[in-house]
Every structure is written in C-alpha cells, then in structure tokens.
Amino acid sequence: MSNIPDHTGALTCGLRDFFAAADGRGLAQAYARIAAAGATPPPPADWDETEYAFNRLFVGPGPLAAPPYSSVYLDPEPRLMGRSTSLTRAVLQAVGLESTWIGSIPDDHVAVELDAALALRNIAATTGPGPGGELAALRRYFVAGHMARWVPRFADRVLGQLSLPGPIVTATRKLELWLEAELAALPPDAGAAPARDIPQPSTGGDYA
C-alpha cells in the first residue's frame, strides 16, 4: 500500500476494530475490513493462535508484551491512566466527544485514538480549520505531536516479538502505514499559530 490517505476511513475503522477486538471472531471480522481497504495476505483458517498471541500482546491476563496505551510509551513511567490518558481525553473533550469506555479502559488505547483521529479528520473535512486554525492545530497536535510519538514505538514492540501470527503483523504494518499516510495528509501548513494566542494556565501548585 502506498501512502494514500484513507479517504473513506475504512482502514482506520478496520484497524480500530482489530485492536479493540474481544475474540477471534472480532479479529477475523476486523481483518476482513482491513483487507477491504487494501490488499492483505489471506486470513488464516484458524484464528485461535492469533487470538492467543493477541491476548499475550495486548490483553492479558499475564503482563502485556506490547501494551496498546500511549501512556506506557510517552509518560515518565509506564502506567495506565497517566498524563497521556488525560491528554487524549482532553483532545476529545475539546471537540465535544468522549470515549464510550471512559473511566474503565484508558482513553489512550490505540483503538480509541484511531477513532479520535478519524473524528478529527471528519471534523476537518466538514468544519474546516476553525476561525483561527484551532481545529487544524488540534488535529496536527494529535496526529503529529501525539500519535506519531508513540505508535511507531508500539509497532516496534509488537513486531519485535517472536513468531507472531500473520494477521497481527499485517495489522501492525498497516497501522504504521496508516500513520505515515495520516501525517502526509495533514494540511501542509497548520495556518495561523493559535498556540501563541492560547491563554496559559498559571503554573501554581495543584493544592486547593
């Protein structure tokens, strides 16, 4: 696949569903969606091995080989519900959205972030960059300043595992390509520089 932006959102949805899958059936369905959005190797006949490996990597119950949460890669320490979780939540809230999983599954799960990227792209397409370019800046931040900082490390961690089933390799590679395409699809210039106009919070202590 070349770096053609995912105009229809089909790949984004497929990847989202893949990483959010609860079982082998969900994986198979998501893989079919990914395949529909671009050529993929044929799916395996039996999804069990993929499911076991998927759970070892992303679900549990043992320690995860590649936790699918940005806070694990970006925060000063690998933990759930860290700063990155709050930031992703804040991006969503800025455009009036929230995760249906809020509070139980960290908002910075890769599937939620894929959905958020999709929402931001749709907003960009329908609403435009915003009067001062705020929406464009938000999207640029989220894709280039947030996802691009951790998704490649996440993908490396996945692909660094031994004997990975094909669908996981495919989905992870597609995720890397998706990110490249999404970055390339960002407006060449984010327009005005809203960051300078943003009122800054005081840096006082957090103690009320």
Binding site: A20, G60, E98
Partner: protein
C-alpha cells in the same frame, strides 16, 4: 513544524479553562462529525464539570491482611486516583501509610492487572482467550449444575478463600457458596489459629488492648512479632512508652528491626518460647512476685499451675532449652513483674510451631500471674475481633430448597466465620483443612473435589507443599480464579475473573488489632471489566437462575454501595458512636470501648475466670495446664524461617515494579559460620533444599540469624520462580481447630540445608 507547539498545546489541553476557551463555540462540532466512530460519543452535559481542576477526595481503607488496616484518603482527578495519603483523622494511621500502601496507585493502574474474564486452553499453556462476562458465567454455571446433577450435591465444588481482601462485603464470596447449597470449604487459617485457640482456652476469647494504650505500659515484651515491619503504625506507641521510661524487650530467633530498636534482645531457640515463659513464671513464683490477690479473685487453677512449675520447671532448664542466659531470665522476669502495667505482644510467628498454642498459653500465664490482664497498658496482646460486629449480609445466605450436603458435625469455617450458630440443620458444608489443601483435595471422596473457586487467595504461592498442590490441581476439572494480577495460581486456572481494587468498590473495613472503623468508597470506575466479588456472585446467580431457576439464592442484581450499607447495624453505630455510615465520609472513627480488654474481668471461659486449668483445652486434645510441649524434631541440618518481608503482604505488592525497584530479588540470610562451612560467600547463588522441595536464590551473610538458622522472606516476585512454600510442609500446629475449624500449621518448624549453586 510551524503553527503549533506541542508543549503549549498540552498545557492548554490540561487546563479545563483554557481548553474550553480554545475552541469556544466550535466545541460541539465533533458530535456531528463522529458518525463513523464506534468508540466515541457526544460528551455528556456535565463532563466539563467532572473534568474539574481540583482533586476529589475519597475515603478508602487498606483491606490487606495486616495489623494496621490503614485509613486512606485518595485524591482523584480526571477519574483516576492520582495519589493517596493516610487519613489524619485516625490517630492510629496518623496521616501516613506504609511502603505498601503508598504503592496503591501503581497497584491499581499497573499495566499488568487482569482486565477481562479469560479462559485458558490448557492450564499453564498461556493460551488465553478473552470471553465476555456472560460467557464466563455461563461456563461456570453449567459446570456447577453438572456437578449437582452428577454428584447429587455440590460438595464437588470447593471454595478456597483467605485474607487477600478483608473488606466486609467480600464475605459475599462465602455467601455465593452458601446460596448455591452445601459446598466444600477449605477451612481454617494458616495465620494465627493456634494462638486464637490458646487465648480462647485461657480467657474465653482473643481480645487485645487498644494498641494506642501501649504508651502507658511500663514494660513491653515483644515476643515473636516484628511490628517495625509488619505493624509500622504501632511503633510510635512503643517509642512513646520507651521515652516515658518503659523498657522494651524483644524475644525472637532473628535480630529483627524491632529488636534493633529495643533495649534488650533475646535470640531464642525457635519453638522454645513456652519453656522460656514458664522459666520466668517459675522464678516469679519462687520470689512470690505473682499477684496473689488478682489470681485469687480472677483465676482458676493457679495452684495446679504453680505445682506444675515447681515439679517440672527450673530457670536453668528454661535457659538451656531456650538459649537465653538464666541470669537474664531472672532479671527480666523480676523487672516485668515489678513494672505495672506491663504487657506482652504475642506475635503470630511464635505460634507457627507444633507447640505454638502451648507457647501462647505459657506466655498468657506469665501476663496473668503478674496481674496484668484487664489493665490499660497491660495485657497479653494477640488480636481481636471485637469491632467486627457487622451484619455479614453478603455472607449469610440461605441454601436453595432441597439442597443436599455433608452429614456430620459442623465446625467453624475459620476465625471470620460470623455465620456460625443458629438452628440445627440437616446438612452442612464439607470442611477440608486449608493448611493441607493439597492433601485434602487429593484425598476427598464421595464426591471428589472437581471444581475449585479461588478468591482473595494465591494458592500456589501461599499454600504449603507446592509440588503436592500441583498434583492436586490435576484432579480438578475446573479452576476459577478471581484476582488482580497474573500470579502463579492464575497461571494454573481455567477461567480467570478480573476483580476490582479498593478504589473501585464500596465496602467497610476494621482491624484485628486497632479499634478503628473505615469506610471504603468507590473512588473511580472499575478499570476494564473488573467486578467486585459480590457483583461476580450476582452475575453467576443470574446465569444459574436462568439455566435452572431457584438454583442459587444470591440476588441477581445488586449495588455495592447498598450492600456496604447493609453491613451496618445499630450495634455497630453505637459501638463507634455514629448516626449513620455517612458519618464515616468525614473520616474513620474509633470504637468506644475500654482501652483494656477484659477490663471488667468477666472472662469468656466456662468459669468466667482466667483459666490456668482449662478443661476445654483438655477436651480439645491438649493439656489442661499451660505446660511445656516439645518442639518438632529437626529433619534437616538447619532451621528454616519464612516470615513476612517489609515489602509485601504475602504474595501482594512485591510484584509491582516500584517495589521491585527497592527490593529486586529474594535472598536467603545465612550465618557467616554456616556459610563458611559450605564455602558460601555473600552474594553467591545457592540452592536451599529439603525433603519437600528446593529454591534457588542469592545468599546474604548476616549474624542477624543464628548459625543453625536460615531466613528467607515469603513473597511473589514478578517474573521470578521463587516460592518459599517449595520448602514448607503441611505439618500441623497443636491448636486452632476449636475456633477456626482446622489446626494451624508449623510454618517455622521447617528445616533445610543449602549448597552453592
């Protein structure tokens, strides 16, 4: 990268005010554009308020098996706990937690937590599939119904649960079993049963003074306990007593941290505590330093005890048996008798012996004969359950109509079996000894144990004779484990269920040591798909009743907060001087009880007196008098002790990376002389082995242990195979069956040898 600045954007997003200002009128454009999004929805109206700038503060309580049962304040922001503190309202917790409590945020938000119900295709294979709660409950329910149909009863279903979570509503796990009918229960406690029985025989109950009254003690002997590690909040009272002039004596086989803070430390031969106490008694008797007036008014059988001492005990014998110099036995006995009030803290470690109950009785006798029972600053302190008078609404459940069970005498199912008593029933649960879990599962017949429910317990880390346990597991057709982390037991499970942490459920907690009551509020939503134990019970009941109506009497829907409320009653409110549980939101409260246990000197024994001669004790297979009972004969070259570390409670906490940062790996402490004989140097990897099994770990040389003693701390380290239970057999202690349903276990009567590996 012109046009934006990541750091500034992040700061904007992190501040509610600036974030809202950022997109102004555009803020709700997202909802319309989110059409293809599956995991997103329009923000609910109050979300901006919820996403507040400050912290919300919640009340929590540490539910672990620990003296201190700390009252916690949790600071929540953006729906996640950010940090915790000790509740300042409790004079006991005093605003501070311990090394473990301070790791709770890390505990709750560890990426290693179990997140979903999962099923393993082949135990120990690591081939896990995620399943829905519905499917998990369906599988479990069908197995239960299959057992019932095939066996004619549910005795093939066994529950093993102990001290992983002492939140009162968690007794709903036992409640679930009761609402299924009659099941098999692993009963008893590996922890403290011999001492419980001993105190029951002597005084009619286990009832310790308020630890805060130790400030008024003039003499404190800490006997086989290590509060500097295992009850850090008690140490301030011991220090206060010392600063007010009290003498602190520590009796222990190990030069513990508590010993290092004492005035005087006696390194005692493990298991010889009874001899030492009796030697002190004999000396006081000889000098006439016993409190004859107190004994006459409040004791039964002291003359017989005195006669036993005169005939069988000498200070020299006690010195020889215990390893403590006779001159010190005499001196400390005299000091102890003359200081009023004087107290002894009887640790749980010293009763984990084949003669543990007898030793506790001998120490009780020393405290009693000096007239120190029932006095503020005095007392033979062991533990208490005086503040545990809840409704046990979650626990006490009726069996379904027509349930069949075990025919035979019913005993208590552990020290926390508050469901005991009531009308005589035709059937009972089948009781198996929790301290012989492996052997009992292997031996159980008619019906065999076919299914095991594990809750609040890490069987394969904490139960004895691990190799035998693995064999026993092979007999089981279904193993269900409800837990937080992927531990050794989960590795051997068929189905694992994710359980909520203290931050994610409502419950209420009290201590078996101090007198405080703490509310545990739900501070955050359960992470992932975790459910509290009672919600799991309700979910299973729902499925069972769908499949076979009436097969489970547990409610099929419940609210954990309501169930917390249902645990309270008028007596609890009166005891703690509160109008409603809501008062606990302002902070923990302390029971309005006299500071001294037995202050009215109305003992709970058959004679209502302190019983030096206990017929009840004799009837339960021990001696009527607190006589010396021989310890276990060594079966290997060195004594092996496996007590608690400061970094964990059993198999909890040590697995966290923060804890691994401070304490990365297990070690075995060896006396330099014993090490030299085996050419072992500090830091060498060694193999410690005995008839039960072996472990490999690093040797540390220290004179804190005697030359015939090895010391390693129990615990579960993430990613390490270490398990001290490989070396601990299931030999029983002398007491425990009377009050807890099964005798204790001689954890510290173990022997081993080591070689360089």
């Amino acid at each position: 990268m012109s046009g934006w600045d990541r750091t500034r954007m992040e700061r904007t997003l992190e501040n509610g005010v600036t974030r809202r200002g950022f997109l102004k009128g555009l803020a709700l454009t997202g909802a319309a554009a989110a059409a293809p999004c599956l995991l997103l929805r329009a923000l609910s109206a109050d979300a901006n308020q919820r996403f507040g700038e400050g912290y919300q503060v919640f009340r929590n309580a540490c539910p672990r098996n620990c003296y201190d049962t700390c009252s916690i304040k949790s600071y929540v922001k953006d729906g996640a706990v950010r940090f915790v503190e000790g509740a300042p309202e409790s004079t006991y917790t005093h605003g501070g937690l311990c090394v473990k409590g301070n790791s709770y945020v890390r505990y709750a938000y560890s990426p290693d937590r179990i997140k979903y119900p999962m099923v393993q295709d082949g135990r120990g294979t690591g081939r896990w599939k995620r399943i829905s709660w519905d499917e998990a409950m369906d599988r479990i329910a069908k197995k239960i119904l299959e057992l019932k149909q095939q066996d004619g009863s549910l005795l093939g279903l066994a529950l093993t649960k102990y001290s992983g979570n002492f939140g009162i509503t968690n007794y709903g796990v036992e409640g679930l079993m009761s609402s299924l009918g009659y099941t098999t229960r692993l009963v008893g406690t590996p922890c403290w049963p011999a001492g419980i029985d001993a105190q029951n025989f002597d005084m009619g109950n286990m009832w310790c003074n308020d630890p805060e009254d130790m400030t008024q003690s003039r003499y404190i002997i800490i006997w086989g306990a290590n509060p500097a590690w295992c009850s850090v909040h008690s140490m301030k009272y011991i220090y206060a007593a010392r600063e007010a002039g009290a003498k602190i004596v520590v009796v222990d086989p190990v030069l513990t941290q508590t010993a290092a803070k004492a005035d005087e430390f006696w390194q005692v031969v493990p298991g010889s505590d009874g001899a030492l106490a009796l030697g002190m008694c004999r000396h006081l008797l000889d000098l006439g330093l016993h409190d004859a007036g107190w004994l006459k008014a409040n004791a039964l059988g002291f003359d017989a005890f005195a006669a036993y001492l005169r005939e069988n005990v000498t200070v020299e014998w006690a010195a020889k048996t215990s390893g403590v110099p006779a001159e010190r036995i005499r001196a400390v006995a005299e000091e102890f008798a003359r200081a009023k009030p004087a107290t002894i803290w009887i640790g749980y470690g010293m009763q984990r012996h084949v003669n543990g109950g007898a030793s506790v009785r001998a120490i009780d006798a020393l405290v009693a004969m000096t007239g120190n029972i029932g006095k503020v600053g005095g007392g033979a302190r062991y533990g208490h359950l005086q503040t545990w008078g809840f409704n046990y609404h979650a626990m006490i459940r009726k069996p379904p109509e027509g349930s069949k069970g075990f025919v035979g005498a019913a005993g208590p199912k552990g020290e926390f079996d508050f469901a005991q008593g009531g009308a005589a029933v035709k059937y009972t649960d089948r009781a198996l000894n929790i301290n012989k879990t492996a052997q009992e599962i292997l031996d159980a017949k008619d019906p065999a144990v076919r299914m095991l429910w594990v809750s609040c317990k890490n069987v394969l880390s904490q139960d004895f004779d691990r190799n035998k346990l693995l064999q026993a597991f092979k007999k089981l057709e279904l193993v269900v484990v409800a837990d937080h982390f992927f531990n050794q037991t989960v590795e051997q499970a068929d189905i694992v269920l994710p359980v909520t942490t203290l931050f994610e459920e409502w419950t209420v907690n009290v201590s078996y040591w101090h007198y405080w009551l703490s509310l545990n509020e739900q501070a955050v939503k359960p992470l992932f798909e975790s459910k509290s134990n009672i919600e799991i019970a309700a979910a299973l009941s729902k499925r069972l009743n769908e499949l076979a109506p009436g097969s489970c009497t547990f409610p099929t829907q419940l609210d954990t907060r309501e169930w917390m409320e249902k645990e309270f009653n008028k007596k609890v409110y009166e005891l703690f001087g509160i109008q409603s549980w809501e008062d606990l939101r302002k902070g923990p409260v302390k029971a309005r009880m006299p500071q001294a246990a037995w202050s009215d000197l109305k003992f709970g024994t058959p004679s209502k007196k302190y019983e030096f001669t206990s017929d009840l004790c004799a009837k339960n297979g021990n001696n009527a008098l607190p006589v010396y009972v021989e310890g276990r004969k060594p079966y290997d070259k060195l004594r092996l002790l496996t007590p608690h570390s400061k970094f964990n409670i059993h198999s909890q906490f040590q697995n966290l990376d923060w804890m691994m940062g401070f304490n990365p790996a297990p070690v075995v402490y060896v006396h330099p002389a014993a090490a030299a004989e085996r050419a072992i140097k500090d830091g060498d990897t060694v193999r410690v082995f005995n008839k039960t099994g072996e472990v490999r770990l690093t040797a540390r040389l220290t004179a804190n242990v005697a030359r015939d003693t090895l010391l390693m701390y129990e615990g579960w380290y993430k990613g390490l195979a270490f398990n001290c239970q490989n070396l601990v057999d299931d030999t029983p202690a002398d007491m425990g069956k009377f009050k807890t349903g099964a005798p204790g276990v001689a954890i510290h009567d173990q022997f081993a040898d080591l070689v360089r590996a």
